[in-house]
Point group: C2
Chain length 112, copies 2
DNA sequence: GTGCATACCTCGTTACACTAGGCATAACGT
DNA sequence: ACGTTATGCCTAGTGTAACGAGGTATGCAC
């Protein structure tokens, strides 16, 4: 049910800083209050596509435990893409609000 | 880009009263302030599916112009489905807001 | 009578989220 | 020592749903 918005969701999870795939999944789950429990088969292909498109950069890192992880970082392009997605998202929400006859403008959040 | 929410959008357009396909498309466009310009190839199959699932009922009507139109009406099931979709939608918006670190609760609209 | 808006329809493509697997290592319990 | 769970990565195939492209027909204005 997140069709079309998945890229935005994944990019948003990386605004706090670099993270590896598994942690991204958990961060999304945490920040969405459990609403988004994304399966790995959904997230990993997205990460690969985002990196291929230049929105993310990845490198192999070694955790204290000794486990290898692929850590992803937002690129400048990625931040821009997220900002764009976010603007589209807010227009989308406003449009749906209009459909429901709800007041709009509630989504006029300041940029950060 | 409205993937997964199309049923809700079409159902919402019919809350004001019965309408035929072409009018539904224009009503959606009007109420969304031009954000949603749905092609007919998108809407008609949705109407057929919704009727097949019992959320809409249709009948052929004759306009003053003499033109034949298929007029759709929300069923009780349809109203319920719309209410459900709407609740899911608001949870969805809250979840995305959480992802962005925005304040939530902005979508706690009263039922109408 | 030509063009445009209205009004309906279907078929095929495509994009994409997800299911269902597979592989490997660390931590923990017994 | 051994099994189980959690961690961590990956891909191939599937199903669905929105959409593009096309087809048909009528009323109206010029």
């Amino acid at each position: 049910m997140l069709k079309g918005h998945l890229d935005m969701i994944v990019l948003a999870a990386l605004t706090i800083g670099p993270a590896h795939g598994y942690a991204i999944i958990q961060e999304i789950q945490r920040r969405s209050a459990g609403a988004f429990e994304l399966p790995e088969g959904t997230v990993y292909p997205v990460l690969h596509r985002l990196e291929k498109n230049g929105l993310l950069r990845s490198r192999w890192t070694i955790a204290e435990s000794g486990r290898k992880r692929r850590t992803y970082t937002l690129t400048r392009q990625g931040r821009q893409a997220l900002a764009d997605h976010r603007a589209v998202w807010h227009r989308f929400v406003d449009a749906i609000s209009g459909l429901f006859g709800e007041a709009s403008g509630a989504t006029a959040w300041p940029h950060r």
